[in-house]
């Protein structure tokens, strides 16, 4: 049988996941010395690791070409649809927040507010819950710029320490939701390869909870 294939989000989540895998006894030397390769064996061919951008991890798992994935809750909220979310891995923690220019009255007045964000779906869902019509503008880079130059009234973005906001005269007025890394699984894979996946899930659970 083919080894299980796990998609990891490149970058920080990948590093921490590799540390976790080593902690539960898998040899990850190949991943650590990956060079330019994108598919790498782990342990004694126990499984394969695939490295991908966050949103692509979800795509690969949804289509079943990867059995498992490690991806941030932010990406799941923005892109996710049909897969199993098996485990909160309790690292890569940060929060989604609504932020505005310091001392501005965001909820005041009757005019429709404009929000700049890299996460239009998260933003849409947040304001839908409040039954509030807002204009959403998608920004690709530093979102903090938008309210400063007058493009938007506020932003919805990921906040870790809040220092970027502070340096630009912005403040958090509401927390949207908590974020951390999650272990996700393809629906069919979990049914067809239950034992292998559950064993790995249990091991990861033991070192993350």
């Amino acid at each position: 049988m083919k080894p299980l294939r796990i998609a990891l989000t490149k970058g920080r989540l990948e590093k921490t996941t590799v540390e976790l895998l080593e902690k539960i006894g898998y040899n990850c030397d190949e991943v650590r010395n990956k060079g330019r390769r994108l598919i790498l064996p782990v342990g004694d061919n126990d499984f394969e690791v695939v490295l991908a951008k966050a949103a692509d991890v979800i795509t690969y798992v949804e289509h079943g070409v990867c059995d498992l994935g490690v991806v941030g809750k932010d990406t799941i909220l923005e892109n996710g649809s049909s897969f199993y979310e098996l485990l909160d891995l309790n690292f890569g923690k940060c929060r989604f927040a609504l932020a505005t220019k310091k001392d501005s009255d965001f909820y005041g007045g009757y005019n429709t507010k404009t929000i700049a964000t890299k996460y239009p779906n998260v933003t849409r869902a947040f304001f839908d819950d409040k039954n509030m019509d807002v204009r959403i503008i998608k920004i690709e880079g530093s979102v903090e710029l938008a309210p400063l130059v007058g493009l938007s009234d506020g932003i919805v973005d990921i906040v870790e320490t809040g220092s970027t906001l502070k340096a630009n005269g912005l403040e958090v007025i509401e927390w949207v939701t908590d974020i951390s890394a999650r272990l996700i699984a393809n629906t069919a894979s979990l049914k067809l390869r239950k034992k292998e996946i559950e064993a790995l899930q249990k091991k990861l659970e033991a070192v993350t909870q």
């Binding site: 199993y84 485990l87 069919a188 049914k191 239950k194």
Partner: protein, 393 residues
């Protein structure tokens, strides 16, 4: 203005040659199972009134439906599902027929999908509905038909079995509104343990809360029933569990071993299904290829209250899997190409028919010269060219 003259809409595709052969092959095998079990074919219109699909428990959101209007401005949709039209049909045209009725269908359905996800918006479905029958016998008839149909097209598969009432009975024991219940259901459906725990932590601890917390992890063999029985003891979910156990024990006589599993976290479309539910997976396909169950409320929406159960198979997914199998070939290259010299055309056509009757795959060449026919045969890898008529002598 840009003309979309040479492309098909996102999520649709042309099926060519081997793709059609594979599809016919798959559908034919499934059809044979259905017919042998006494199901009769129906075809419903490709477009229907929107109202048919907007009944309260349909489980189809308006975002998913392709809409158009008729010449009176009434809202129509391209059929997103075949069960609701069949419920409509049974409640009107088969109103006075002898029950139960066994129906099967093989037709495309249309669902709008998020852009650029590679999902199909048009896909072929085959399925059966057993309308006007309830109880163990009816449920076993549906389940064994489904298992036969999947076995006919795949060997490495899993059928997972659940019961809509397990979750419903447990959730009804909680002091929550419909919206909260739906949030809990979604987190069970996606096996999202952390979201489920967050939702349940806000509730008063009780036997039902503890049982719901375990639901998504309760999947596997018979041991799951025992675990669940222990957890759900004294709750309203008990009778549904016992029934599930009966179904499972009956199916185990088929000797399929771990190909049939229990999944108490199977809560998809829980407002639509009322009894047993099931899903089937085939190795190599990342999504359920077969879904079904008992839906006893639906016919009431069409003023014809009666029990019904059925399932649908995503035959396109199976077709794509079959085409990727290197051991299966749907090549229809002929063995012989028959060229007719001027005036000998009818003679050649007769020769082709004779060769075919003898079991040799022969085709009549429509090219104007023997040289072109030979060149074509060489390019296509056709072994033999026969010339009929004067050049022959």
């Amino acid at each position: 203005m840009k003309k979309y003259l040479k492309i098909t809409p996102e999520g649709t595709k042309d099926f060519l040659f081997a793709e059609c052969s594979a599809m016919d092959d798959i559908c034919g095998k499934i059809e044979q199972v259905f017919v042998t079990r006494g199901f009769k074919k129906v075809i419903t219109p490709g477009i229907e009134f929107y109202d048919v699909f907007s009944v309260p428990c349909s489980g189809i959101s308006q975002e998913e439906m392709f809409k158009l209007t008729d010449n009176k401005g009434r809202l129509l949709v391209a059929r997103p599902d075949s069960t609701l039209p069949i419920a409509r049909m049974v409640s009107s045209r088969l109103k006075s027929s002898l029950l139960p009725v066994r129906l099967y269908y093989k037709q495309a359905v249309y669902r709008n999908q998020p852009t650029l996800t590679g999902r199909r918006t048009e896909f072929m479905q085959m399925g059966v509905e057993l309308v006007g029958a309830q109880g163990l016998r009816a449920d076993l008839e549906i389940l064994t038909t489904a298992i036969s149909a999947v076995s006919a097209v795949a060997s490495d598969f899993r059928i997972e079995l659940g019961h809509a009432e397990v979750f419903d009975a447990l959730a009804d024991g909680l002091d929550i509104d419909g919206e909260y219940k739906e949030k809990i259901r979604v987190s069970i459906e996606s096996k999202n343990y952390s979201a489920l725990n967050n939702l349940l932590d806000k509730l008063e601890p009780s036997k039902s809360v503890a049982a719901i917390r375990k639901l998504p992890s309760l999947f596997g063999g018979e041991e799951v029933i025992e675990q669940a029985a222990h957890i759900c003891e004294g709750t309203n979910a008990q009778s549904a569990l016992e029934y599930l156990h009966t179904l499972y024990k009956n199916l185990s006589t088929l000797g399929l071993g771990d190909k049939v599993i229990i999944d108490l976290g199977l809560v998809q479309r829980n407002d639509y299904y009322t009894g047993f539910v099931f899903a089937g997976y085939i190795n190599g396909i990342g999504d359920a290829v077969i879904t079904g169950g008992r839906y006893d409320k639906l016919l009431s929406e069409f003023d014809a209250p009666m029990g019904a159960a059925g399932f649908a198979i995503d035959t396109d997914a199976v077709t794509i899997l079959r085409l990727s199998d290197d051991n299966v070939s749907y090549s229809d290259n002929p063995d012989v190409l028959v060229f007719a010299c001027d005036g000998a055309e009818m003679k050649a056509i007769e020769a082709v028919a004779k060769l075919n009757a003898e079991g040799k795959k022969a085709r009549f060449s429509v090219l104007p010269t023997l040289e072109e026919t030979k060149a074509f045969a060489a390019a296509r890898g056709i072994a033999e060219v026969i010339s009929v008529g004067e050049e022959e002598e």
